[in-house]
């Protein structure tokens, strides 16, 4: 057996089996459950969304960048659908007391650029204001493994306590 043949055979033999390794996997209860959730997500009404009984998002707020005023948007996203957004201009870390979600400082331009690229790939049809970059961070507090999407304003990056309070209220805090 040539060395490459040995490689190919060894590779195939080394594959660990998984629960999906049978021809009728798509007919299983697991597959049906996942497909149901796909249908739920794509059938969700615009602007809201359902995700396993948890809150998903909040309505977006307006802002006036030129005047240095910004609102903030936070999306609590665990399901595939990003539903609603609250725009955020925070540079400091925030904690939503109720939902237990930590919003991390995302003022680093490199992180913002990288994350906005990922955002654009995954949700290109999501209305994202031109003035904002998007970042995705895992939720650290709360432990539910969800994702928090924070969109900061490029300008006027100052703390706005009213936004923090509004954000906390909006996401269940």
């Amino acid at each position: 057996m040539s060395s490459i043949d040995a490689v190919l055979k060894g590779l195939a033999d080394a594959r660990p089996p998984t629960a999906a390794d049978h021809l009728e996997w798509s007919q299983t209860d697991t597959a049906a459950r996942v497909l149901d959730r796909v249908h739920d997500a794509i059938d969700a009404p615009a602007g809201r969304g359902r995700r396993s009984g948890k809150l998903v998002g909040i309505a977006a707020t307006a802002l006036a960048v030129g005047a240095g005023i910004a609102a903030f948007t936070v999306v609590h996203h665990r399901a595939p659908t990003v539903d609603q957004m609250v725009l955020c201009n925070q540079t400091a870390s925030l904690t939503s007391s109720g939902a237990g979600i930590a919003v991390q400082d995302i003022s680093r331009s490199g992180a913002i650029a990288a994350c906005s690229k990922e955002w654009a790939k995954l949700w290109p049809d999501t209305a994202t204001p031109e003035a904002f970059a998007a970042c995705v961070y895992p939720a650290t507090a709360g432990g539910d493994g969800g994702m928090v999407v924070v969109i900061p304003a490029r300008k006027a990056l100052t703390n706005d306590q009213s936004c923090i309070a509004a954000g906390a209220d909006l996401i269940g805090g």
Partner: protein, 182 residues
Amino acid sequence: MSHATDQRLVDLWFREHSARVFSYLLHRTDQQTAEDLLQEVFVIAFRKAYAVPEQPLGWLFATARRVLANHTRGRTRQQHMLSQLRVAENVKPVVDDIAATHARWSFFELLGQLSETDQEILTLAAWYGLSPAEAAQALDCRPNTYSVRLHRARQRLADLIHQAGDHTTHLPTPSEVLHVVD
């Protein structure tokens, strides 16, 4: 395309390809997360149905890689793919064939000495049956580039096999390493 048409397409893609995408995810994360990410892949497929090629498998794998990367981004420790496999609850040991199991794990050890990129390149075809074009799409590179990388990765693995020869290091038994799945 209409909502209904897109949904029918997604159902078709799910029926034909979800098992392989799910296997890919199961090899890299726990079952619950794999289910969540599988859902995400097909919701994205619905939203971007206009961009999904007629043969969607490569595109689905590319999407699965991205959602997995997003899921793990920011975590304190980036887990090596094979270390994930070692402790994956969904990996079944071949306990009734110890020799085969040890052979598998010997090869597995060698595979683990390669870079994650090489592992990905080698396993996309060998473990999930992707064609060169599909694998290239999954890796977001040109087919020629993929072919060159594949050749080099296979050669590197062949070199490791040759160096290993008949010498085997101590390998843990399946019950020591793996979680048996009922």
